[in-house]
């Protein structure tokens, strides 16, 4: 996957999933698969979601662009309902969600959401928190922690059975250790996850993009031309 360099484009423009700028960025379709039931951390979760029942969303189309200091990912997938969580759904509902995942160190495993000393970094959007994203780190299953709720910007629009969501962040951050540091001309592993709220997907119950490089897809950031 490529992140296209667009000189001078503002973050504000990138954060609009329907902005003209996205028409010039080549999207890439990714196949998604459900996370394995056997990898879920507890008996109750495995019982609630047996093998073959996880991963309601099967496809996502991803476009990526950067302006030299910020990078944005535009995700588009089909969903028959916009689920915005518990409130208004009598406390039994769950929100749709999406995230981009990066390794922050070489060898950080995708399937287990990182490992002790090998953190992964998620940029997370949720339909009930639309407008702001979460900057999340994890070092193994069940360990995800919100680093901050400022650095990641995220904005979703639901229309006619399709979610269009942009998730963005600066290429570099100050909290080096647990956050991915990206640079123009560089490359990194990447994955994408989608949670389908109407299927009660939350936590490790989600569909994700499995790539060729120890599970990761590759993201190449264009040089600043």
């Amino acid at each position: 996957m490529k992140a296209q360099f667009i000189r001078g484009v503002s973050l504000k423009e990138l954060l609009d999933p329907e902005a003209m700028v996205w028409r010039g960025v080549k999207p890439e379709p990714l196949l998604l698969s459900g996370t394995p039931s056997a990898l879920q951390p507890t008996l109750a979760v495995r019982a609630a979601f047996p093998e073959g029942t996880i991963g309601a969303v099967k496809n996502v189309v991803v476009a990526a662009a950067h302006n030299g200091s910020e990078i944005a990912f535009r995700l588009e997938w089909q969903d028959h309902s916009a689920d915005t969580g518990a409130d208004g759904q009598d406390d039994v509902g769950f929100p749709d969600g999406a995230a981009i995942l990066f390794p922050t160190r070489k060898g950080a495993p995708l399937m287990t959401m990182g490992a002790p000393g090998l953190p992964v970094n998620a940029w997370y959007w949720r339909a009930d928190e639309n407008g702001r994203g979460r900057h999340v780190t994890a070092q193994g299953l069940g360990t995800s922690d919100t680093l901050d709720r400022e650095l990641v910007k995220a904005n979703g629009i639901y229309q006619s059975g399709v979610w269009r969501v942009v998730i963005a962040r600066s290429l570099q951050t100050r909290n080096g250790g647990s956050a991915a540091q990206l640079s123009a001309g560089g490359k990194t592993g990447i994955s994408v996850a989608i949670w389908e709220g109407s299927h009660k997907e939350r936590a490790g119950i989600k569909s994700f993009a499995l790539g060729q490089q120890e599970g990761w897809h590759e993201l190449i950031l264009d040089r600043q031309a």
Binding site: Q40, P41, T42, L43, A44, V45, R46, A47, A48, G85, A86, D87, D90, D91, V92, L141, G142, T143, S144, T146, R149, R202, A203, G204
Partner: protein
């Protein structure tokens, strides 16, 4: 799973519960007044037979089967717990309608509440029967909520086995809520975290019994360490074996125990009292407390008789609770004389 060093427990004597809800109010006043907690009652009292709180909770699953597998379960809805009704106080008290309108519920007419089927009970006249079943979190030894959480956000205190939610870890996934077979975990839909009875641990830490027990006018609640042989819990549960967990078949090893209700005698066809048959059917009590309930009932009846004849019975004296301080296993300090910590429920994140 690391076991707690000691376990706090509670015994509730159902023969003495008068259904006054003082326990629920004591709890509500102390712990569940924050935003998103309006509908929560960590302590409930229901008339049974009945559908309970949340409505039909016994059919929702959770806990473990005999092999230790997690039983299938579903989430209770806020309506099934009974949402907090909004009343027209503003209109009446401050809007000048106090002399022209009655107090009314605002919005949709409620279809269920936490005490909706109060005093309906079961049986047929003249042999109708009911009793009250107060419930809190059972602070289980084999806590299904704790074992269900994929984030390890539920903790069981090492020093006393009190089960608490670490709200900084909780993400509101609600696997715990489904897994708890007693449906004693609530979801805060504003803060997106699970919340539950904390056995008043800030009071416990200062030597004060939980508010539901301390405030109970009927003196039905005993509190203390499970293994304290000088205190009532051990005597009622292990020595006299008259206090039993609710639905032991759920497999979570609860630490709240109930002294089963004896109930009144039957009326026979001619309206005379028939002492040979219990008004509350044995099979109903077996369904709630397991087959050991029959022995417990027999013991209580025998000791009642002994007390009646001789004036002496250790068990009856315990259950009568002449001196309230003796009910709390040493947790008998005056709450007004100690500094009880308040709780900052959730870190803002």
């Amino acid at each position: 799973m690391t076991a707690s060093k000691r376990q706090l427990a509670m015994v509730m004597d159902l023969n003495k519960c008068l259904g006054c809800h003082t326990c629920s109010i004591a709890c509500k006043t102390l712990w569940s007044k924050d935003d998103g907690m309006e509908y929560m009652q960590f302590n409930t009292v229901n008339t049974i037979p009945g559908q309970g709180t949340p409505k039909d909770w016994e059919t929702m699953g959770g806990g473990f089967d005999a092999q230790g597998n997690a039983r299938p379960a579903r989430l209770p809805s806020r309506k099934e717990y009974g949402d907090a009704w909004q009343f027209s106080h503003d209109e009446l008290y401050y809007g000048g309608r106090g002399n022209s309108r009655h107090l009314e519920i605002k919005g949709d007419t409620p279809e269920w509440g936490p005490n909706w089927d109060e005093d309906q009970g079961g049986g047929v006249f003249p042999n109708a029967y009911y009793f009250y079943l107060p419930r809190i979190c059972n602070h289980c030894t084999h806590a299904a909520c704790k074992e269900a959480c994929p984030r390890g956000a539920i903790e069981k205190r090492e020093e006393d086995g009190i089960v608490t939610v670490n709200e900084d870890r909780c993400r509101g996934y609600r696997f715990c809520q489904a897994a708890c077979p007693y449906k004693k975990i609530y979801f805060n839909h504003q803060k997106h975290v699970a919340q539950k009875c904390i056995f008043c641990f800030p009071r416990i830490d200062e030597g004060v019994a939980p508010a539901c027990a301390r405030q109970c006018p009927g003196r039905i609640r005993f509190v203390g360490y499970r293994d304290d042989q000088e205190a009532p819990i051990w005597k009622l549960v292990d020595k006299w074996k008259v206090a039993l967990p609710l639905h032991p078949e759920y497999g979570t090893d609860p630490n709240v125990f109930y002294v089963p209700p004896i109930g009144p005698a039957m009326f026979d066809g001619s309206g005379d009292i028939d002492e040979s048959r219990p008004r509350i059917p044995d099979e109903y009590l077996v369904g709630l407390f397991g087959p050991k309930v029959l022995d417990a009932l027999a013991t209580i009846k025998a000791e009642r008789e002994k007390k009646r004849i001789t004036g002496k019975s250790e068990l009856m004296d315990l259950l009568i609770a002449y001196e309230w301080k003796n009910m709390f296993g040493g947790f008998d300090k005056d709450p007004s004389k100690v500094q009880v910590a308040t709780i900052q429920w959730t870190r803002k994140r």
